[in-house]
């Protein structure tokens, strides 16, 4: 069976010593930053992008992926033990997980979270393996007209489904696109917006822009609250093993959470956060005892944990098969591939099968490592929270600075880092999420190329996008999404869904 061959190829790649090592580094780092509240996976991956120059493409993607799903594990540990979600996606887990911990069931909650994540991770791995080939086959048959429509859909959906104001999100995407166009035009070679600076002829450095807009702006934001002590109330961990009844009670939520998470993860703008929220809502609706939710219901831990892990993994599908990153994190992964000279998209599965299947198989191996890392060593991770932010900050700053500088040995990139750090912080202060900026920045070259090509073939007729049935269909879906967001009733429920995450 083809499917089994692919997984075998993936496993043999992922089990190479180098790749196992970087997978381990990735999940270790991921757990670390997942536990620490002030440092998210996006900023960390931006910080580590420069290091990936020294690695093989496979190893670097394996490591970065490990950071992403590792951070989901770490985030839930602190969410359960001290009501301190390390990541936004674990804030749902904190609702019931912390209540369980207060009742002395911390160990049980942690174990269920780990089991749920593991099951979901395994399931998502198979989903990716099954969906990848058909999807990339479809993508390969697409012409520029269809591709243009698909990218527009991805962009619109990613702002509509993501956190924050839709109008601001769209504006941020366009802003990112414009900055992505700086440098030589790929078609004519004309320099655009380089303002006489020859260092800009290859465009703004992705690492410097990403690290500035995410990393530096996040540090600036954290400086606002530095000096205030975080709440630390550690619950005692007693027995780790859940009882048979607990397992029976969580089986359904884990399965449903995995399914829902896997579907939501593929959607642009989704990923782990929405998956966690929606699966929690679903379990509450299905439960025979909805009143238990919020007071330590085990299903309230099992479902969102499974969902966010499944969602984290399946959000790789659009990036790896279509070349369209559904969220900022995947945009960075796409950036990591581009640094290595690989254009993310349907060609990856065809031309680099070891890379593709290796990364997928590594996710499963990484999930095994995470269970081992997290359950017995949970005390160690909790101790980490005692590190004050003022000690972490200089390390983050110096690694970012060195990282950006060593890419091209150019001080110029550091000025780019500074500029985008200030810009990113300004945007955040003005209530604009910075994630869409990065999606636009990474996608603008691709969008322009397909837009141009489609119009060359049609002789400049814009109706070409509606004359092709597939692109017309995709654009119709896009229009529906815009309409749905514009209709007050839907945008109200959307606000409610996100309001919970603001706490």
């Amino acid at each position: 069976m083809e499917f089994v061959d692919h997984l075998a190829l993936g496993l043999s790649t992922a089990l190479q010593v180098e790749n196992i090592f970087y997978c381990f580094i990735g999940v270790l780092l991921g757990t670390f930053i997942g536990v620490l509240p002030g440092l998210g996976p996006t900023a960390t991956i931006a910080m580590l992008l420069p290091i990936t120059y020294y690695l093989s493409p496979t190893a670097s993607l394996i490591m970065l992926a490990g950071i992403y799903y590792g951070s989901q594990y770490g985030g839930s540990t602190t969410a359960i033990l001290m009501n301190l979600p390390g990541e936004v996606s674990s804030s749902v887990t904190a609702i019931d997980g912390y209540q369980m911990a207060r009742k002395g069931q911390a160990g049980k909650a942690l174990a269920i979270a780990a089991i749920g994540s593991f099951v979901a991770g395994t399931f998502a791995t198979f989903v990716i393996a099954l969906a990848a080939l058909p999807l990339s086959a479809v993508a390969l048959s697409f012409g520029s007209t269809e591709y243009f429509a698909l990218i527009v859909l991805g962009i619109v959906a990613s702002t509509a489904l993501a956190h924050g104001s839709v109008v601001r999100g769209m504006a941020m995407i366009v802003t990112g696109m414009l900055f992505g166009l700086v440098g030589a035009d790929t078609d004519s070679g004309t320099f655009r917006y380089i303002l006489g600076m020859i260092q800009l002829s290859d465009g703004l450095d992705t690492v410097a822009v990403a690290l500035g807009i995410f990393g530096i702006s996040e540090i600036l934001r954290n400086l606002e609250t530095s000096g205030s002590e975080g709440p630390v109330t550690t619950a005692k961990i007693t027995s780790l093993m859940p009882s048979k009844e607990d397992l029976k009670e969580s089986a359904g939520p884990i399965v449903r959470g995995s399914l829902l998470g896997a579907v939501m993860g593929v959607l642009p703008g989704g990923g782990s956060i929405i998956s966690a929220f929606s699966s929690y809502a679903l379990e509450k609706k299905l439960s025979k005892h909805p009143e238990r939710f919020g007071h330590g219901a085990i299903a309230g831990v099992a479902a969102p944990e499974s969902a966010n892990n499944a969602g984290a993994q399946t959000s790789f599908i659009p990036m790896l098969t279509l070349g369209i990153p559904p969220n900022a994190l995947m945009a960075l992964m796409a950036g990591a591939l581009m640094i290595q000279g690989i254009t993310p998209g349907p060609n990856v599965v065809r031309d680099q099968p070891e890379l593709f299947w290796g990364v997928i198989a590594s996710m499963w191996i990484g999930n095994v490592m995470l269970v081992i890392l997290n359950l017995p060593l949970v005390g160690l991770w909790v101790a980490l929270l005692k590190i004050p932010y003022r000690m972490l900050l200089p390390a983050i700053v110096i690694f970012s600075t060195m990282g950006v500088y060593t890419v091209n040995n150019s001080a110029f990139d550091l000025y780019v880092l500074l500029l985008f750090g200030v810009l990113g912080y300004t945007f955040r202060k003005l209530g604009c999420e910075v994630a869409p900026f990065l999606i636009g920045f990474v996608l603008s070259g691709l969008l322009e190329t397909h837009f141009r090509r489609a119009l060359v073939f049609s002789g400049g007729d814009m109706m070409t996008f509606l004359d092709h049935p597939i692109s017309a269909g995709i654009l119709a879906v896009t229009a529906l999404i815009i309409l749905a967001v514009a209709v007050p009733a839907i945008s109200r429920t959307r606000k409610e869904a996100f309001a919970e995450s603001e706490d």
């Binding site: 504006a171 414009l178 530095s226 001080a411």
Partner: protein, 152 residues
């Protein structure tokens, strides 16, 4: 002023970025036509779209509930940005060692709760770590002491 500062600020920022790119395309780049686009075609229209978004958000700012931007940690922010700027200026002139140490120190005293003593300790430890990792372990070819201080 009775207006939403966040909306006004974001509106202004988007409008100016949009205008910068749109006008830059009009005055400096070949626009071409839809069937044979010049380098300026795509950025021109994106710039126009962004300007529209910006103006819309700006106008909305007068109609929504007032909201201010909040505080900016000026002292910390300047020290932190100064740390990176110092590294950029110093690495080719003073050398990698002073650049690292200066950058670490400025970053270490930027949080409000930092003390001179703890910052100094962090600087020593972190600089030593960076020199060990980047210069010795990874073998990056930066002179420790730069030309201004008598190095090569």
């Amino acid at each position: 002023m009775q207006a939403n500062q966040k909306d006004l600020g974001a509106g202004l920022l988007f409008t100016s970025i949009g205008l910068f790119f749109a006008l830059g395309a009009v005055f400096g780049l070949p626009i071409g036509s839809a069937s044979s686009m010049g380098a300026g075609y795509f950025p021109l229209w994106l710039g126009v779209i962004l300007t529209c978004f910006g103006l819309g958000i700006f106008i909305k700012g007068f109609r929504t509930a007032p909201e201010d931007i909040g505080t900016v940690p000026w002292r910390g922010a300047l020290l932190l940005l100064g740390a990176i700027l110092f590294f950029a200026l110093a690495v080719d002139t003073l050398g990698a060692l002073p650049a690292l140490a200066g950058c670490c120190f400025l970053a270490a005293i930027s949080p409000n709760d930092a003390t001179w003593k703890s910052a100094a300790a962090i600087t020593v430890a972190l600089t030593a770590f960076c020199v060990a990792v980047f210069i010795y372990a990874l073998g990056l070819p930066y002179p420790m002491i730069g030309p201004w201080l008598g190095g090569r």
